[in-house]
């Protein structure tokens, strides 16, 4: 075992642990358990909000998978990754103040609370809660596999043990601290991710003999590595542009991101978060993917993309620094996982249980239920991640695109278009999810675009068409009262 690398990593895990326990005290003593547990009492300041969005959004793929592909394809993949620059400001600008004001008026804690109040329809709630639970559960399991593998590769312990360490530390602080623990640890993780990016980029440029030398070595190997089209010319402008929808503007539809737009303290916090978030997202995406490309010169001939970053860190940095840098992907995985975990448990506890099963449940029993549902989901994910079943992997493939196609219009048009109604929302969710799964299975990348594009267009058509056709059905009271 490489102790020089393992010690900083262990310190990181223990640090998260301590923060989780510490913040749990605040939750216990505060009033309004649900608001606090799932939203941190709507008190997020700008810096914290920005970093928690970055950390939630930046997952294993930003640090391990993405740079690995950049290693193979060259600068074209960095170009594609830069579509994510917009997520830093677009999501907050579009959901913006209106979402925050409306969420406060109706006391919404989850995305589904908003959809429920806006559309006043049982099926909207059930379909949304089901798609959120199923897709995000699968996405979590995939991330847990990543977290387990990461720990396995640094420490040399077996995969099940690594997974156990990972799951245990994540679960303890999510269960104990809820949203507040998650955002505070997210903030720390965001800082680790930012510094990790800076350090490894600098280390790689130095080890590669400077940027001009690296680029000319790449061009000598294969000129396409420094073109926007990718080493094998597979990156067409159409394909690369369509990622603006998947990883850029479409992120508005992801529940774990949009819920953060309910949690800011005031409009100043939101403004700050837009500025900081844009800078940090852009920096991490540019830095990490560029590092992946440069790594080709420093450590040539790596076959498995996922190994590029760990190998690179060990090669270009002293051991203890490599440990800190490798904490960055771990931070990314953990912060994505814990946000998703909380969303899934909130949609089960709040959206299904309190809405439809036991509306009169006491504060105490809600509390107990929230803890145990979060724990049970965590344990289930652990079992699934030990030996992931095919169904899970299959569902995970659809998770982000499917959720975006499902929710982008019910959220955005629900907020800004008064004539949108329940029929439109149900149609949009069903059309989005089904068409995404069907198209991806039978006709992926139609017309050279990423599969997500067409389902988003289809769900828009479904939303508008069904809303217009059923315009005589009773309108939501939010619209009648002029809240929307």
């Amino acid at each position: 075992m490489n102790w020089e690398v393992v010690i900083p990593l262990l310190a990181f895990l223990i640090g998260m642990f301590v923060v989780g326990i510490y913040t749990s005290r605040q939750v216990q003593s505060g009033s309004g358990f649900l608001q606090d547990y799932f939203l941190g009492g709507r008190h997020l300041g700008g810096f914290v909000l920005a970093l928690t969005m970055v950390a939630t959004y930046g997952s294993a793929s930003s640090f391990i998978g993405g740079p690995g592909i950049a290693y193979k394809l060259g600068l074209g993949w960095v170009l594609l990754a830069m579509a994510q620059l917009v997520t830093g400001y677009f999501t907050l600008a579009v959901l913006g103040k209106k979402f925050a004001i409306v969420a406060r008026k109706i006391d919404a804690v989850t995305l589904i609370d908003f959809l429920k109040a806006r559309y006043e329809n049982k099926w909207v709630v059930i379909f949304s809660a089901a798609s959120i639970s199923i897709f995000l559960f699968s996405a979590t399991a995939a991330q847990w596999v990543g977290g387990g593998r990461l720990i396995e590769s640094f420490t040399g312990v077996s995969y099940p043990v690594a997974l156990l360490i990972f799951s245990f530390s994540v679960l303890v602080y999510v269960i104990a601290g809820g949203f507040r623990a998650v955002v505070i640890t997210d903030t720390l993780m965001g800082i680790v991710m930012f510094i990790g990016t800076l350090v490894i980029l600098a280390g790689t440029i130095i080890a590669g003999g400077g940027v001009p030398h690296i680029i000319s070595t790449l061009a000598a190997e294969n000129p396409n590595l420094i073109s926007p089209y990718g080493a094998d010319k597979s990156l067409t402008p159409m394909y690369v542009s369509s990622f603006w929808l998947l990883v850029g503007v479409g992120v508005v539809g992801l529940p774990q991101i949009s819920v953060r737009a309910m949690s800011y303290r005031n409009s100043k916090a939101m403004h700050q978060a837009m500025i900081i978030g844009t800078f940090v997202v852009g920096f991490i995406m540019l830095g990490m993917h560029l590092t992946g490309v440069f790594a080709r010169v420093v450590i040539p001939g790596v076959d498995i993309g996922d190994k590029v970053m760990p190998m690179l860190a060990l090669k270009v940095l002293p051991g203890w620094l490599a440990g800190i840098v490798l904490a960055a992907p771990l931070a990314a995985v953990m912060s994505t996982v814990n946000a998703i975990l909380l969303i899934v448990s909130s949609s089960i506890v709040k959206d299904i249980f309190i809405n439809y099963i036991k509306p009169e449940a006491s504060q105490q029993s809600i509390k107990r239920l929230s803890f145990s549902v979060t724990a049970i989901i965590g344990i289930l994910v652990f079992i699934m991640a030990l030996n992931p079943p095919d169904l899970l992997i299959w569902l995970n493939l659809f998770s982000f695109g499917g959720l975006e196609a499902a929710f982008i219009w019910p959220v955005v048009l629900g907020l800004y278009w008064r004539r949108g109604n329940a029929a439109g929302a149900v149609g949009s969710i069903v059309t989005g999810v089904l068409s995404y799964i069907l198209l991806d299975t039978f006709a992926p990348n139609m017309w050279g675009m990423h599969t997500v594009v067409l389902p988003v267009v289809l769900s828009l058509a479904a939303y508008i068409l069904l809303s217009l056709v059923s315009k005589n059905s009773p309108q939501s009271s939010l619209v009648k009262q002029g809240i929307i």
Binding site: M82, A93, K97, I215, A219, S227, P228, P237, S267
Partner: protein
């Protein structure tokens, strides 16, 4: 309509506008300069010019534009409904 929503709607449109500009900048430099044969490339700081303008300069330019947009065009509004209650809360904090 709640006057705060007018502000919010306008800001949402600004966000969309900036995203459109961002896309145009990114696309035009990437494929405008990067579309020609690699041996005709120019280099800035050792990076191909298309990449420098589209990804590196684009990142800085749009970070600054976001700053300008937010600082000068976005308005502070209260999120709570009753302003008195909010003031009270602020004092208690």
């Amino acid at each position: 309509m709640d006057p705060r929503f007018k502000i919010s709607n306008r800001e949402a449109l600004m966000g969309i506008g900036l995203a459109v500009l961002n896309f145009i900048w990114w696309y035009a430099f990437a494929y405008g300069l990067g579309g020609k044969p690699v041996r005709e490339y120019h280099y800035i700081w050792g990076l191909p010019a298309w990449f420098f303008y589209s990804c590196v300069a684009g990142f800085f330019v749009f970070s600054i534009l976001v700053y300008i947009m937010v600082k000068f065009f976005f308005k502070d509004v209260p999120f709570e409904d009753e302003p008195e209650r909010q003031n009270l809360k602020e004092e208690q904090r």
